[in-house]
Subunit: 195 residues, 2 copies
């Protein structure tokens, strides 16, 4: 491959393949360059370090897992139904990604512990999306919330068991979907305005 | 030490010491017997396998971490204050145990993934304690709950981030206590009866 046409996207695709095969501990920039048939200097021009390359891989994985969520945030549904659909979709996406591509998911879990800035930014983005739904619910007179950001963070953290990758071993247990339903019931009752 | 006076408690003390020093992967029944100055057969008479010994260690650790909870379950406080105190105490106990004895906590985390029956039983016990508090709240007209066990499990799982050992790395982050407070607010609002 000619170095001049090499894109960041091509490097990330190759990096995912290499991580899938060798795992995060053994993957080097040189391996990724070899798969692409370029010098490692060409890869370093896009990603200045192995850590930067890993962070970009983790970020891309998270973006794919969270892709269906922004559309749900503004879906034409009452806020309580929208929030339940949003939380259920987040859980389903994470579970599917963990089961359909276990090697890359294992890699991602290592990256998560390493790339805390990337993960923290994504968590903040999820909290903002939940906050938008809560604000709509408050505007419609369905929800009560004095500190929307604090409440949105509480909603995300109360459902950590279904989206935080440290809980992935629990996602294949029977009853995991019903248990999320029970927490959604509790959380949505907690948000509902009192008459 | 004379084999005839050897108790299970002495074996478990010694097993904790050995686990603390060598970690779960390298600890054997022979090591534990050596520390006690007895034959490994003497240990096997109390614990028929290395796995049984590990399970007993995990169980003892969990019992210590959960020790203050049953008294809180029947404390003379309104159910909502009692449940908040119970959840806060569970989080504080787990956090203290993780910080004050990190070697044994790391061992415990390995044991948790191995000894799922022991952990499942303790989780059920915690759910029963929460259910007792919720039942009192319903009897007092403060809480509404149609399926108390399901709701109690939801309360425990909604606060997993503060008691499940997989989240231990988060317990030293700033704001972790306030974040639990926010989830307690949400959960208690969810339980409260509607007038």
């Amino acid at each position: 491959m000619a170095d001049t046409t090499l894109t960041s996207g091509q490097i990330l695709e190759a990096a995912e393949d290499v991580l899938r095969r060798f795992g995060p501990a053994k993957t080097t920039v040189v391996d990724v360059a070899r798969v692409l048939g370029v010098s490692h200097g060409s890869v370093y021009r896009h990603f200045p370090s192995k850590a930067a390359l890993r962070e970009a891989v983790a970020e891309r994985w998270l973006e794919r897992a969270h892709a269906p969520l922004p559309a749900l945030t503004s879906a034409d549904l009452p806020a309580s139904q929208r929030l339940r659909a949003w939380l259920t979709t987040l859980a389903a996406e994470k579970r599917t990604k963990a089961l359909e591509d276990p090697e890359l998911f294992a890699t991602y879990m290592v990256l998560v512990r390493e790339s805390s800035a990337v993960v923290a930014e994504h968590v903040e983005d999820l909290i903002r999306q939940i906050a938008l739904i809560i604000e709509d619910g408050v505007a419609d007179g369905d929800f009560a919330a004095t500190d929307v950001h604090r409440t949105a963070r509480a909603v995300l953290q109360a459902t950590a068991r279904w989206h935080d990758p440290v809980h992935a071993p629990d996602w294949v247990e029977p009853g995991v979907a019903d248990a999320l339903e029970a927490v959604c019931d509790l959380v949505l009752d907690g948000l509902r305005v009192r008459n």
